[in-house]
C-alpha cells in the first residue's frame, strides 16, 4: 500500500493530543447532573455537589475555549478545520431552533387547541357538559381550575416593550460592529461590540426585574396554570440564551482588544454575532405571541 505524501502542518487537519478537557467536561457534567438529582431527592449535599459541578463546567469552558483560541491564533487550523467549525455552528443552531420550537409549540397547542376544547369548542362540547362548569375559553388563562389563583398579565407597554427596544438597538449595534470588522475599522468595532453586550446584560437585568414584578404585583407565577407554565419557561430560557450570547460577545470583544481577527478571518465574531441575531429574533417572536397576538 502506498503511503500518502508527507504534508506540511497547514495541510493537516489539526487534532490536539493529550487534552485533559474532554474528561474534565464529562466529570463536570456528571457532577452537575448528579448534584441536581441529589437536590431533587432532598439530599443535603445536593446543592453543594451541583455548585461544584457548575464550577468545574465553567473551568472546562474557560480552559478549553482558551486552548482553541491559542491554537487558532497560532495558525494551526486549516480550511478543513474552519469548515468543521462552521458545520458545528449550523448543527448547534439547528438544535437551538428545535429547542425553541418545542416551547413555542407548547404555547400554540395550549392556546389553539387544548384551552378551546376545555371551553367546549367543536366536537368537545361533551367535555364541557361533563365538566359541568362555566369555563369560558379565553387567553390568557390558568384553566378551569383557576390554578395558582387570580393573576394579571404583564402589560406589553411596560418592561417588555422597553426590553424589545433594547434588543433591537443591540441588533443595530452588532450590525454596525460587523460592517466595521469587514472594513477593518477596529475602533468602531470595539465601541459597538461593547455597546451590544452591555445592552444584552441590561436586558437580562430588566427581565429579572420583570419577574419580581410578576411575582409580587401581578401574582403571575410559574404555577399560574397553563399561562404561567408557558410564559416563564419561554422567557427564562430566552433570557438564559441572551446571557450566553452576551458572554460570547464579551469574550470576542476582549479578543478584538487584543488584536485578534482580520476582515476575512473572524469566524468567532460571525458565529457569536449570528447567535445574537438569533436570540433577537426569538425575542421578537416571544414579544408578538406572548404579549400581543
Amino acid at each position: 500500500m502506498a503511503h500518502a505524501p508527507t504534508s506540511t502542518a497547514s495541510e493537516k487537519y489539526y487534532v490536539p493530543h493529550g487534552s485533559p478537557w474532554p474528561i474534565v467536561g464529562s466529570m463536570a457534567l456528571f457532577t452537575t447532573v448528579g448534584g441536581a438529582a441529589l437536590w431533587l431527592n432532598h439530599v443535603h449535599a445536593g446543592p453543594w455537589v451541583l455548585t461544584l459541578g457548575l464550577l468545574l463546567l465553567t473551568t472546562m469552558f474557560v480552559g478549553w475555549f482558551g486552548v482553541v483560541i491559542r491554537e487558532s491564533e497560532s495558525r494551526l487550523y486549516n480550511e478543513a478545520v474552519d469548515r468543521s467549525f462552521r458545520m458545528g455552528m449550523m448543527w448547534f443552531i439547528f438544535s437551538e431552533v428545535m429547542f425553541f420550537a418545542g416551547f413555542f409549540g407548547a404555547l400554540l397547542y395550549a392556546r389553539q387547541f387544548s384551552v378551546p376544547w376545555l371551553g367546549g369548542e367543536g366536537t368537545k362540547l361533551l367535555t364541557k357538559v361533563i365538566r359541568g362548569d362555566n369555563f369560558e375559553a379565553a387567553w390568557p388563562t390558568n384553566g378551569p381550575g383557576n390554578i395558582g389563583g387570580d393573576f394579571d398579565v404583564i402589560p406589553a407597554f411596560g418592561l417588555p416593550a422597553i426590553n424589545t427596544a433594547i434588543l433591537l438597538t443591540s441588533g443595530v449595534t452588532i450590525t454596525i460592529a460587523h460592517h466595521a470588522m469587514k472594513a477593518g475599522n477596529r475602533r468602531l468595532l470595539n465601541i459597538f461590540l461593547a455597546a451590544t453586550f452591555l445592552l444584552g446584560f441590561l436586558f437580562v437585568y430588566l427581565q429579572a426585574h420583570e419577574y419580581m414584578e410578576a411575582y409580587t404585583e401581578h401574582n403571575l407565577k410559574l404555577t399560574s396554570g397553563i399561562y404561567g407554565s408557558t410564559f416563564f419557561p419561554l422567557t427564562a430560557f430566552h433570557g438564559f440564551h441572551v446571557t450566553v450570547g452576551a458572554l460570547m460577545l464579551a469574550v470576542v470583544w476582549f479578543r478584538c482588544l487584543k488584536g485578534h481577527f482580520t476582515p476575512t478571518h473572524h469566524f468567532a465574531f460571525e458565529g457569536a454575532a449570528w447567535y445574537w441575531h438569533f436570540v433577537d429574533v426569538v425575542w421578537l417572536g416571544l414579544f408578538i405571541f406572548v404579549y400581543w397576538l
Partner: protein, 66 residues
C-alpha cells in the same frame, strides 16, 4: 390585515436570518453577503416594531389583558 402584515414581516425576518446562516456556513468570512443579510434582518425587525406600535395606535390590535 394587521396580523397578516405582522406575521409576514416576522417570516421575512426569519428568512433573512436563515440566509445569513447559509452565508456564515458557506462563505468562510470572505464575502459581504452575511453582513448584508443581517442588515436586512435588523431593518425588518425595526420595521416590525414600528408596525406593531402603529397597529396598536390605529386600534387594529390590542395587547393581552386579563
Amino acid at each position: 390585515m394587521a396580523r397578516f402584515l405582522i406575521l409576514a414581516c416576522l417570516l421575512a425576518i426569519v428568512l433573512s436570518l436563515g440566509s445569513a446562516l447559509l452565508h456564515l456556513v458557506r462563505d468562510k468570512g470572505e464575502s459581504q453577503k452575511m453582513a448584508r443579510a443581517v442588515t436586512i434582518r435588523v431593518a425588518l425587525s425595526v420595521l416590525l416594531f414600528v408596525l406593531l406600535m402603529v397597529a396598536w395606535w390605529l386600534g387594529w390590535i390590542q395587547p393581552h389583558v386579563r
